[in-house]
Symmetry: C2
């Protein structure tokens, strides 16, 4: 595991002894820190989810999505399910990107087969003026889940914590649900930028406190999902999304118990803004499938690791085609960094978006194995 | 009006005398051809539409969307409605991007308040093998509308014809309707690229024949809407969308009756691929609001005119804010081309997507007037 050179690990370990098992597979963390690895690590957004029959069984027992997310045992169970099937290099907390507005009192729910819905919407000055950074005690179920999962992992792979970005939270808080056109949130943004900035500042400080509490509870990396940054106009993205992602990053802990905590940022549809995103104070940029990894590497690869970016729909093809498309993504990133003495451009394999609920589970095994096998071959060829 | 230097206008005019009134406002056509204009021309995607009460009245009389589109008088009436209200610099045929698959026999319909639906889907080899370029006689209602509108315009502004792109047609033909994830069409694309290529070739040849017939009927410019090109992965966009847009362009008439017919291509979400799109054999690239016009101009502006790209949601702000955002878009494109002796970078103002049905009509007047006023000021300052 990585140690912070600027801290005193012995001292910090004495102050807060690490109660968890040592990390056996640190490939994901090393790749986040742009260190050479023996293969390209792979995990999948929404890897614990509806495409797995065992997930559907647990969800049926829990009764609802929030029933699942708020129950420590169930959240632990489903987080580990994909690791039992596939040789994934990271686990990600089972939760939702919208827990913070729920803790603010907006009333999050998920009807079966539908997206998130909020009982209360934030659409005017009165509603914005009532917003505040929520008491983190209301999110204790998340931190308990993080600790429980971390313990259950026994150091097999690192655990990633996460949150929605300030802008993405604002989208749902104003719209009250998903949207085709983001008309209501953009109306507020264009008509009352003062209100929008006020909401985004509160969201940013909330996300920072939330992710720091996840780190305290045991998250070994944290990721900010800017799922709806890509719906913004060029100038508006910089003013209303990127600035507030940066505000979160500036407040995040850089390490815990003397161990570095990598920070990942994923803006769906953010490919046009890689130059600006390359200036963020984080370790990894997530990319969707519209981006050419080779070009992205040329733009930002020397400063950050890149994560992505297979189209999740590839998993509906035949196994040989899944393998071929995985190889194309690895090859598009290009020659792996193999020098153990230096940092260099590194790639973390992922989908460009969450895995579809209709995915045949057997194709995920094909994908994970193909990434490991081909990325090892690439390193052998590069050596 | 522009004359083709390579043709003999006197001869072609004698063979097919132009039966329409001469064009009084050729600003849009001149900007398409990268010629200097006194102001930046403006028109709006879906400018004849549900946000106008007079449109809703006509649609109520017609009974359905297809009832409206297939009736020459109604189609003419609604096409001209926005020109009565606003000083727009172009008219666009009232029709739908999906008329071709309807003429192929797939059965297009629109339930009130919903998107397009096809009765028959193209999801397997048998269905693809039945596809062929449709008899253009089945689309005569479109060509009749073009001629009727062109006549009714009396040369006020040019008339734009259009079609969906081969890829966008394929999306609807496979999915049968709009989609969140394009799972079915992408499954066919990844699993059976041979079938997808076959369908796209037929679509491309159909679109070319369709647009050429619109040109014959009186369309003075034609636009290809690649509404769903942006959902494709980087490599797939080039292979399954761009190649077939190019195949359409290669077959399009360059002039009619000795007059140049500009060709416009708009890929929603295509900002990452401007370098490749800048190589297309067309006159204008349409851009959505995620693109920075100044950067796009630096990439392709010397070869093509650029069209766009205000976020349609700006029209929900207050008039002063609408005006300010319009000015920002004009300024982001930068210094206008003012030399009457040469061609140079030109901008056609538009939204980055179709206007929302919820738009307050009075804000459209504010927008159009702001574009005209500020773009005239920019020219005065540049001179």
């Amino acid at each position: 595991m990585l140690k912070m050179t600027s801290s005193n690990p012995t001292l910090s370990e004495r102050q807060a002894p690490n109660m968890y098992a040592p990390l056996q597979n640190d490939t994901f963390i090393r790749a986040c820190m742009r260190q050479a690895t023996t293969h390209t690590p792979v995990w999948l957004m929404r890897q614990a989810g509806r495409y797995l029959p065992e997930y559907r069984d647990t969800r049926a027992k829990a009764g609802s999505f929030m029933g699942l997310a708020t129950n420590t045992d169930y959240a632990t169970e489903v987080t580990l399910q994909p690791l039992e099937r596939y040789k994934l290099d990271a686990a990600i907390l089972f939760s939702d990107i919208l827990t913070i507005p729920d803790a603010m009192g907006l009333g999050l729910s998920f009807a079966l087969g539908e997206g998130p819905k909020f009982a209360h919407k934030v659409r005017d000055e009165a509603a914005v003026s009532k917003l505040a950074v929520p008491d983190m005690a209301k999110l204790r179920y998340v931190f308990d889940a993080v600790s429980s999962i971390r313990k259950a992992l026994h150091g097999r792979v690192p655990l990633i914590g996460f949150s929605g970005s300030p802008w993405t939270l604002a989208c749902y808080m104003v719209e009250g649900a998903g949207s085709d056109d983001y008309r209501l949130v953009k109306t507020m943004m264009y008509q009352r930028p003062d209100l929008m900035h006020k909401m985004l500042a509160i969201n940013a400080d909330s996300v920072a406190a939330y992710l720091n509490a996840q780190i305290d509870a045991g998250a070994q990396a944290v990721m900010i999902f800017d799922s709806w940054g890509g719906v913004l106009a060029d100038a508006a993205f910089h003013e209303f999304s990127l600035v507030y992602t940066a505000r979160v990053l500036a407040q995040l802990k850089r390490s815990h118990d003397g161990v570095v905590i990598p920070r990942l940022v994923f803006t769906k549809g953010g490919g046009l803004w890689l130059e600006a995103m390359g200036q963020l104070d984080c370790e990894v940029l997530g990319l969707d499938w519209t981006v050419n990894l080779g070009k992205a590497r040329a733009q930002v690869g020397h400063k950050m690791a890149l994560q992505g970016n297979l189209d999740p729909n590839v998993l509906f093809a035949n196994p040989a085609q899944v393998e071929a498309e995985a190889v194309k993504v690895l090859d598009s990133f290009g020659k792996p960094h193999t020098d153990a003495q230096t940092t260099g451009p590194t790639h973390i394999f992922n989908l460009g978006h969450g895995i579809s609920q209709f995915t045949p589970p057997e194709n995920v095994a094909v994908l994970v194995d193909a990434v490991h096998a081909h990325s090892r071959k690439m390193r052998a060829a590069a050596a």
